[in-house]
Symmetry: C2
Subunit: 141 residues, 2 copies
């Protein structure tokens, strides 16, 4: 059975310069990786929002997260958001609330992870674990 050790979100101030915010994200992720030393990291693949500017800013953030993961020597797995929702809720169109509910159920938590973004992160990690198990059962690695 999978056990949730820690989950959360890193928040930065929108008023701060992008470079300063990237340092905060990088330092936050690096600290968590040093603390838990994971073998693998699951990251949502790029979400192409209707607003290209948002997608590109997100790309900057993903860049420093992938950097931190690679520096820590972890295997990096990427999953499209719809694939994560499908793995956890059975449908790629699941709502934030459905993801929170299913994450809580699968991990036998008393309360769903909050905020919803933290639950999304846990859902990505669970997708990674489930995929690894299916691969193991099928004799793949």
């Amino acid at each position: 059975m999978s056990v949730l050790v820690e989950c959360g979100v890193i928040r930065t101030r929108p008023k701060d310069a992008l470079a300063a915010r990237l340092v905060e994200i990088f330092d936050g992720i690096t600290e968590i990786l040093a603390r838990h030393r994971p073998d693998a990291i699951a990251v949502e693949s790029v979400f192409y929002s209707r607003n290209v500017r948002t997608t590109v800013t997100l790309g900057h953030a993903r860049g420093v997260i992938l950097l931190a993961g690679q520096q820590a020597g972890a295997r990096i797995h990427e999953y499209p958001p719809a694939e994560i929702k499908k793995a956890i809720c059975g449908t790629g169109a699941a709502s934030k609330e459905q993801v929170q509910f299913m994450v809580a159920r699968l991990l036998r938590l008393k309360h769903p992870p909050s905020p919803a973004d933290a639950a999304d992160g846990v859902a990505a990690a669970l997708t990674c674990l489930m995929t690894a198990r299916i691969d193991a059962l099928a004799g793949r690695r």
Copy 2:
């Protein structure tokens, strides 16, 4: 008069995983910053290409470059590509060759920086210097 100390490009292998390429870019920039300890860094602002995927991948690379710059304590200046071309060549529609030619002229180089991407980097740095001078003359800082 401005003097060119070093210019160049960091190339990564397109076949490598994005995270590995980001580490190469980050390490390369960090090494250069440690060697020259610049007060300021000039970076092209995001170029929205017709291919959103390219723009987003570029966002990842910019993310680790801005991170390296901020970690090194340098002031980061961003300029749209057209503004750089206008400052150096007089027109925002200048060709790669025109930028190479003008960069060589302004810095009294025997040969224009090559490849053209290296000249673009030098052009961004020159734009930063010219803007700083104009601000100083106008009593701004």
